[in-house]
Subunit: 442 residues, 2 copies
């Protein structure tokens, strides 16, 4: 980052440089450079920035940084800046403030306060928590010329001016018009004659995954959020959904590695939180190893006569886990993206059975040669290990693909079913088969 | 899907119902219902649909279905439909056609053919492969009234009419204007006086991950694609980027489960392809188990005297794999989203060391009690197993977090370094420690 280091140096020498930066760089770029300054370096720079520009910067900073910067400013500035922020970012920032400060700010914002409180009440992962309330609305009986005048007046404030929503007096959503349709229409045309009816909407309490699915399916740029009575409350735009999609994928990956999911970036998470996120599932896993322990104990007499059998336990365990999690990953991701449905289970089982026969046989043959040539433990053991490997792969793939589907059926998150849980189940089954084969054939 | 079943029934009874469907439902919904009909049911329905509507439907179907439908139609229809499709979807569809058919279609499209060929030449995962070439461009010396006239004429065709690009005679990109800025400007204002300079652009050969990163960082709705000479070639829109983000996350998840990544949805992938995707890495893993095998062979005399040690091998192996992949998942995802950078490695190592001390100690204590109370193999073995578990967790977390960072350093995909590779490395280390401790203490 030599560029950023240069700017940083210039800002410390001459705080007014920030004006040049704001005119030449994107807000996120300026925000990142300012975040590298300490409080004493930041104070003179902030003197040069307008309330509106500070509001834009606050929309880019994470809430901790935004709060650090704001606390360097007088109270009346804080309220003014927060008033200028987009409603969705504002609610996030207020939500992260100490409660006493929040109340002071809300009092200063008297007029908007009740409105802001409503937004604060939404669950963070609901469409209400995602939406911005700055949208353009027009009435069906207006002409396109009147509607365009509303766009001209309101476009600066609105989150997107590319869609204009048609509502009745009670703010119930009747239709939608794109700005291009409005520009194309003759000035005297009535809004109701050109609006599109029954626009796709989402309920205020819908989970953000539902929002992402609607954007995926219908290639949307903006999605109106309504309540039970179809009253238009706000809109979610495509740029917010990109964050949702990232978050949901991260959450699934974390669950698949048996972690309690968190949205906070790794470097901003405390060590204790990281440990708490990981410990519970490792404990469950460790305790569930009691099963594999019991199985080995049952076959102890066999192992004491044939210590060579032990050599292949790690290989079987690893293959069980990995073959299973390959299948599980494909099914979990397919379910998350809506490419796989519940009633595809028969097709999936038949697929996985055939795949595991191909993959398992290939592995078994190579393994047979490896044991004969490298481990040199003799042909009978090579046969037992290879057969056990084939059985393990088949079991692992069937369990790995079935558990996520079963989770979906009983309304548990399929991602929870992946990795370690499958490992535990397949480990136990695989050891049983291995030792039983050994007892029968050796 | 009772709704879809109803429509299907109606379509078979009366093919003209498709007209009603097209006026009431979204293209994707109609496309899905039509895809459930067999060829004989589909033919009369297609008679009712216009070329333009068929082009919209083809943009929604996957390429195989689109190709199945098109092959029911006369050759001259196919060319007309393809002419009406958006350029990005068209290139995908042509790319999937048999080469002879593609040539026939391209001949029929004579005028557009060279243009289409150019798009076909881009790598599928490049910004050139993503972009649509229908955009609106104006000249800097035009008035906003003239520019708006271009929008009115071109808006139907353009992928997004919300941004108008300002180019010189050689199509070099000079600036950008949003439709709302154009609508707000007085009619006589010159484009060059209101356009935003130096818009964010992406190079035609940039990887789609770069495109996604730009959309994430700058909250974009559309991104212009340029060549080495800053000539504007096309635009990528936010809805396409949503697909990219999904694809990239899927790819990372598949790599983390040691699969060769594929974009094709699970249910559309053949069994042989699924097997090919999974076999290579399982083979590598199985062969790498030679190391763990050798370690166990070295300690065979110890195991023959103390068979009880075998009981805990699966538990140690599973914990090694899972503790390691927890760390790896967090680091790989952090790197993919740009939240973690190369030079954070010292902080990450210190984090992971402290986390693993907390998590490892807790696991060791619980494990000690479990071995004493459940397995009943005696205090000395309980101590050895618990110490080995602590060491395994620490090693797994250090290796799990370091390998992805190291991969990034040597320009290998960090996702490849996860899961099974970490398992293999940590398995070997963990067994060495376990047996060495046992030899020393028992």
């Amino acid at each position: 980052m030599p560029l950023s280091a240069n700017w940083q140096h210039l800002l410390i020498e001459s705080p007014a440089t920030v004006k040049l930066m704001l005119s030449r760089l994107q807000p996120i770029d300026v925000a990142e450079i300012l975040a590298t300054l300490n409080d004493d370096q930041l104070r003179p720079v902030l003197q040069e920035v307008s309330v509106k520009e500070l509001a834009l910067l606050c929309e880019e900073w994470d809430v901790d940084t935004a709060w650090r910067v704001l606390s360097l400013l007088p109270q009346e500035w804080i309220s003014a800046i927060i008033r200028h922020m987009a409603s969705d970012d504002r609610a996030d920032l207020l939500g992260a403030m100490p409660e006493t400060t929040r109340e002071t700010v809300l009092e200063a914002l008297a007029a908007d306060a009740s409105h802001i409180r409503e937004l604060l009440a939404y669950a963070a992962e609901s469409s209400g928590g995602l939406m911005a309330t700055e949208f353009l609305s027009v009435r069906p009986e207006w002409t396109s010329e009147q509607a365009l005048a509303v766009v001209r007046r309101g476009a600066q404030e609105a989150e997107t001016a590319y869609y204009v929503y048609v509502t009745d007096q009670e703010q119930k959503l009747l239709g939608v018009l794109s700005l291009r349709e409005l520009v194309l229409a003759t000035p005297s045309t009535k809004v109701k004659d050109i609006m599109r009816l029954e626009p796709i909407t989402v309920h205020e309490n819908a989970h953000q995954e539902v929002v992402a699915d609607l954007f995926r399916r219908y290639h949307l740029f903006a999605l109106p959020v309504v309540n039970d009575h179809n009253v238009l409350l706000g809109i979610v735009t495509a740029d917010d959904v990109l964050d949702v999609v990232d978050e949901e994928a991260t959450e699934d990956m974390q669950k698949m590695s048996w972690m309690t999911p968190t949205e906070v970036p790794y470097l901003e998470t405390s060590v204790v939180t990281l440990a708490k996120q990981r410990l519970p599932w490792l404990l469950v896993l460790m305790l569930s190893a009691t099963f594999t322990g019991k199985i080995i104990q049952r076959f102890e007499y066999l192992l004491s006569h044939l210590v060579a059998l032990t050599i292949f336990i790690p290989m079987l365990m690893d293959n069980a886990g990995n073959a299973g999690s390959q299948s599980a990953t494909l099914i979990i991701r397919g379910l998350a993206l809506g490419e796989i449905r519940q009633n595809d289970w028969l097709r999936i089982m038949s697929n996985e059975l055939r795949v595991s026969l191909i993959v398992g046989s290939a592995l078994a043959v190579v393994n047979f040669l490896r044991v004969l040539l490298v481990e040199k433990t003799g042909t009978p053991i090579a046969i037992v290990v290879s057969l056990a490997l084939l059985a393990t792969v088949i079991l692992a793939k069937l369990v790995g693909s079935t558990l996520p589907l079963f989770a979906k059926l009983i309304n548990v998150d399929p991602a929870i079913m992946a990795g370690p849980l499958i490992t535990t189940v397949v480990d136990a089954l695989s050891l049983m088969i291995y030792f039983s084969l050994a007892r029968a054939l050796l």
